[in-house]
Symmetry: D2
Subunit: 475 residues, 4 copies
């Protein structure tokens, strides 16, 4: 999608919003709001503040207040980055928690002596701790695409305003609201397909795919062919916006290479005879929902759904990257970790031609040169060493001293879901990105429904990682 198209998309969204407002937001609010300058100069900021007060006081009744809020929302969309920050600051600074009210409620609480009045005092205190801006955020829901508006506003907050402490508080309030509204059981699991999904939704897959970029509509079509499945979660009020989606290949044995999976000229598989489902890509689609996770639910619901549709499926596995492996290894080499390479590693490295230096030096040189894998000799030596180190990295390395969470983020995701590390695949990803992240290694995590709970418990309570016997023998 070129830039022209991107803006076309934005234009269209704006236009849709505008059309939908007609007859909902009273015209005068819109007019007033529409006249604001893109960078929201002081005079406009003051009018904005006044309008926000009117919303909060529900002047003219609740219906009017919502119409007014919708008009403000529209104005927000028309601002530039400077204007947006100012808008958010007006909202954050003027409608925060009233500290005096909090202090009074605390005072009242401390006077209570018996349980019932204590409970009431606590309820009152809790109310004072809810910033009035939350009510305003809710009122933006009056926009035709109000939920998407708030999700995108949070994306703005996370992006534009990382270090602004007042905005931080607003972002915290907005996240709280979205957590409640995006409860996983409100979401709808929908299959995405070439035959039933609109181009509008499919285009978003192309835009949002975060693991293995979709190169073209032909590539996309291939990923939606009859031996593939793609599922996404949707919110009922954002029916055209996938929240998270997963791409699955139905195959005859556990995949070890992602390029083969994505090869458009590969023959079609009869899905009814497939015994393995490979989850080869999971992408979050909404920046504004960062930290609000549905991935574990998605995978398990898709496993259930596929089990029902295809009776022959026995194995559910991923084909996943190790995004942090190479940079971890690099750091280890930098700090001169003695235990990293054993004697046979060193010997193997020394026997390989093509790079000078000692074992470590050679290893570092290879890590910087993607062509090394093309030499059978170098590749063979590296395979043994790197596969073992990758196993160690996945299983042993934690996010920090005393932490239980795996250092690798993808590993942590699947392990906390209760999956098991099944197999490491040398030359699993021959793309530049694959070499960049993990020297081309990929890993299969396996989802066995009956082991998920106990694996999860072992991992979350003691950091224990479930691994296959082949992984164990590697280490």
């Amino acid at each position: 999608m070129n830039d022209k198209n991107k803006f076309g998309f934005l234009d269209r969204t704006l236009k849709n919003l505008r059309n939908a407002w007609k007859g909902i937001a009273a015209a005068e609010y819109n007019e007033s709001a529409a006249s604001m300058q893109p960078d929201l100069p002081k005079i406009d900021a003051e009018r904005l503040l006044e309008q926000m007060h009117a919303c909060l006081e529900t002047r003219g009744g609740e219906v009017s207040a919502r119409a007014r809020a919708a008009a403000l929302g529209r104005a927000y969309l028309a601002l530039n980055d400077v204007g947006k920050i100012r808008f958010l600051q007006v909202l954050a600074e003027n409608f925060g928690v009233d500290h005096r009210a909090v202090d009074e409620a605390i005072h009242a609480l401390r006077q209570t002596t018996e349980p019932v009045s204590r409970s009431i005092a606590e309820q009152n205190l809790r109310k004072t701790l809810e910033a009035p801006r939350i009510k305003l955020l809710i009122q933006f829901n009056a926009l035709p695409e109000g939920v998407k508006f708030l999700v995108d506003m949070r994306a703005d907050l996370l992006g534009l305003a990382r270090d602004d402490k007042t905005l931080k508080g607003l972002e915290h309030d907005l996240k709280g609201l979205l957590v409640t509204w995006f409860d996983v059981d409100f979401l709808e699991l929908r299959r995405i397909s070439w035959d039933s999904s609109s181009a509008n939704i499919l285009e978003k897959l192309i835009a949002y795919e975060a693991v293995h970029a979709i190169e073209s509509w032909d590539d996309l079509k291939n990923r939606l062919d009859s031996d593939r499945r793609c599922f996404a979660y949707f919110h009922p009020r954002m029916p055209e916006e996938p929240l998270i989606f997963v791409e699955v290949a139905l195959v005859a044995e556990m995949s070890s290479n992602v390029q083969s999976l994505l090869d458009e000229s590969a023959p079609l598989m009869d899905p009814a005879s497939a015994n393995t489902a490979i989850f080869y890509s999971i992408s979050n689609a909404q920046k504004g929902l960062a930290g609000i996770s549905f991935g574990n639910f998605l995978i398990k619901r898709v496993v259930t759904s596929l089990s029902n549709e295809f009776k022959e499926l026995k194995t559910f596995a991923t084909l996943s990257p190790l995004p942090g492996f190479k940079s971890w290894l690099y750091k280890r080499l930098e700090v001169g970790d003695k235990a990293l390479l054993n004697a046979s590693d060193r010997k193997a490295l020394q026997l390989v031609d093509g790079k000078s230096g000692g074992a470590k030096g050679k290893l570092k040189a290879f890590l910087e040169d993607a062509t090394c894998l093309e030499s059978p000799e170098a590749s063979e030596a590296l395979q043994g060493i790197l596969t073992r180190l990758a196993a160690h990295y996945l299983v042993q390395e934690k996010r920090g001293e005393g932490e239980l969470r795996a250092l690798d983020p993808v590993a942590h995701f699947h392990l906390s879901n209760g999956a098991r590390i099944q197999r490491l695949n040398w030359k699993g990803d021959s793309s530049a990105k694959g070499f960049e992240q993990s020297v081309g290694l990929m890993v299969n995590y396996i989802y066995k429904l009956h082991h998920l709970e106990s694996n999860h418990e072992a991992y979350t309570s003691s950091g224990k990682v479930a691994i296959s016997s082949s992984l164990r023998s590697l280490m």
Copy 2:
């Protein structure tokens, strides 16, 4: 709907729920939950408590915790009233706010000296004030009809446990959750019609209609004919359950009598030529949403929708009861309010035959005897007196000393929406209920879009009631 059907309905609901659980909730949870006795004896209550702890700790991961919660929800539905109270008590008593944590957070808050740490301390305090049971309530959303489950659980709390103070706190938490989930802009306005709505939904109109009972399927069909409209709000996760609905007649002039409106043998009107829309019935359908109001939004959206569909519509009015009029009048007569009747009233009453006693005595006697309206003489005398008193009642009587809210609840609803009292209709409702509530009087409230805001403001800020000139001349 006879009792058999009611229970059939329940049975079916239960069965649907059960079917939907299959494959979602792990079998073992269901089994354990299913074995509880209907009145939840102590031993079961203890197992329940243990299961609730497991849910809150998300043992086995979030997916498992949700499945477990769903099983508990199913168990709840199978309990009798005693068992339900016990279930709710277990939930209320064991998962309330941790007072010690609150005290500690207050202590920490009081140590802060600068704004940012104060804000963080407030956020922390707020968190301690959220009872853990709220998380459990949210987990029940995993039930296939989880939202309906929680709405009905709140109806149970409001019904079974009015005076139980612990349950009160739970009810308060649940209401807070439902307020957020039932934000009006999540709701879908749908037209209900004979041609497009399922019998399942139509049957609920019959069950939930609260103003003018629907006598039969023929009566219902008549209310959905081509010169009628019925609209309801729905929640996306309760697609078969109207939340609130309004019935509208498209007519040639403002209606003054509800029996004429509901007459099945009346000729059809061509809706395209109607100039007036009469809102003759608005009913809330969900007890569990008491206190969470959508009525004002519903009326205004329906006005907008009808305006778009029928270009000839000029007047949007209600035909409404005065539910508190007669009991208010009675009380006034009891306490011997001197100002109630003026000289000409007294004279008029004395001239009417059929009851003995003084003016007040006669009036009280007439209020107890519905046949009085059949005598032209008595009816004429009463019309003058009662219409004037009703006007006074609607416009002047407030809920209490110094209050701005109208005493009559229906009046309060429409006035706070910004409507105007337009006309009082003598013999507007000849049913027994009509006589019982208001000696057969009905009132038209008028909705003029351009006056709604100012009327609302005048009413809510100073209690001023918008009335027509004919009403004014009555008083």
Copy 3:
């Protein structure tokens, strides 16, 4: 449905049609057509003829011709019975086959000597044999509910005009058109249910049910409960009109009594554990489709659909009436068929009290007195005799000398579908109609997918009837 409602229904249909025409049919055509008198006097009939000519010549182009035809269709709907007959006569008499053209085409055909020109001549001849009125009939499809219009026009033709030979030809042409348009593979099988079907469709089930009348909405709801299924065929252009529907009960053993099946107070069955599906009612809904049959396809598709949904189902059977049994028996008794009763029958009858006369006389008397079944003694005697005679009637009696088709129409339907006669049920239908048709006897036909073809072939080629061993032993 009372008369008022019936007409309301008609009114609404008319109004819908009228609304839909707007903007489709040019206003002037409508006006001209609308001004016709209900009984279509001569002057209007002449205008009609002129308009029909304009349609056929596609004056103003095809789009205009269709609009014109739609206006004529609307005019038809507004006529009374006399007017309709005249309308149909105008159509039948003026737009039949052109005999001269036929003779010329025959002449040309007879001149041909070689195959190719013969084929072309045949094509030409065939064209001359297609009456121009067929084109006009097709143009009525421009009505918003054009297909339903034509179906109903055929119902009119079959009803109003049974003995009119010109109309007969028109009816024949219309049937030919409907046969092509109602090809079974254009039809959609839809499940009808309380939760998903509109009241408008459900109301039609009540109106069209031809076997066991639906008494009320409660009765209907019971027939659509979770242990019941109802399926209907629909045409894509008549989406609100079932063409034929079947009602099925999911039960634990083959039903022998229809009142038990329809008992609203009977407990619900868990459909997942049912082993038998009973087809207890099949009704054609459109008179205008008489002679165009889908029943065999419907049953087999429903069997397939139910097999997929409920894995435990093993038996698919009907519970059917023997509509012609009693009248056949009566005739046999009238003509004094000696072979009808054997010695033990006579003896059994003589032993029963309550009626005077010989064996035959007693039997006739019992057939006229529904209370006879209440006496255990009489009932027992009659059971033996009538069950045997019914078996003979179903299996041996044919529609005429040398015919292969069973005399009983229901038997013929199921036997030609390949079903087997499985069991006769004494006191299977205790309704008045049940006694009137068959002294309360009902029959189970069984559908075994693997025997349908051979049973069908045996029956259609040699009249051989498939029966169970119990039936065989009866005879």
Copy 4:
């Protein structure tokens, strides 16, 4: 779409068909049919013939016969071109009209003396003239995509078998069936959009667009933007297959150049303010429906639909090619038509540099050299001459001596719809194809609803062409 994709598409279609058959067609039929060789050798052709006989005799009942026919249809799809021709020949040669039966029916007809028996004799004769293969064709409708199957079979017949006279008869029968099934009032008009249409349908627009090729998904998206509309007709049994579609641009004035219309970087128009709708492309999508026309209905319905949606639209016009102009002009020049160029034309041509020869020679040279339009001088001279000749070509040139139909096929289509020739646009299409067909000229036809009928009548009855005053002044 590359070849790989094409076959992928076919594969998928086949697979879908196969899946749908499961449980419909009895397994044995499929097996037998599936075993046929791709080129249908004699032994297989004999088995095929036998199966066709079984279908026609409805052996095993109608349901079985349909299943058998579906299996034959599947076999057909798996054949190569040689096999398909043989399959079609078996069908055409063995199931044609029975000439003897025809002769007998003619004989019987000639014996009749009075009207009623004549009518019956005609009906009988007509029946003998319907080839039995028509019944077989109808049975193929049992395929899950049976209608599409028959449409494609006709495309095969038109393509593979142009000169085979037996197949010609089969094609004629099939066309007759499709004419009845594709009655325009069975078709559904659907809007095609980026937001609501599946990629599967959109991909077909790319494949079927016949006027201005769609270059990419970006080009397509631009043609579906908010200031564009695309509508297509669909058959209810081919819901994924557009039959014919039209692309419309909403603009501020009548377009004169197609490249501007298709420019992806052009700014978006607010459709609500557009006053003109330009129909710039109409494409038939199904080869198998050749000769069955919906174009006139499509345009008029789209005009109506757009009028309702956009109140500001005043002008409905096309921007159309003159596909036969250049070849006509060439021929005129070849035959030395003296009247073609007048004196001032000759003079103008002589003054232009760049080509040698006389006026005619120069003109021919220019017609062969697309760069000539780049020279302002040549372009100006050519504009005057060619525009006038094009006007003459459109208005005066007929398909033949004494014919009323315009020589240009696009002109004939719009003129017979009742449109008017409004304007000729010099440099209206700068593509290679545009120069090839008409030296870059394009024409606007205008649709005025109130003139369509009279224009149509004048054109079809006397060949009179409606033209604007500017066109008139050109000539």
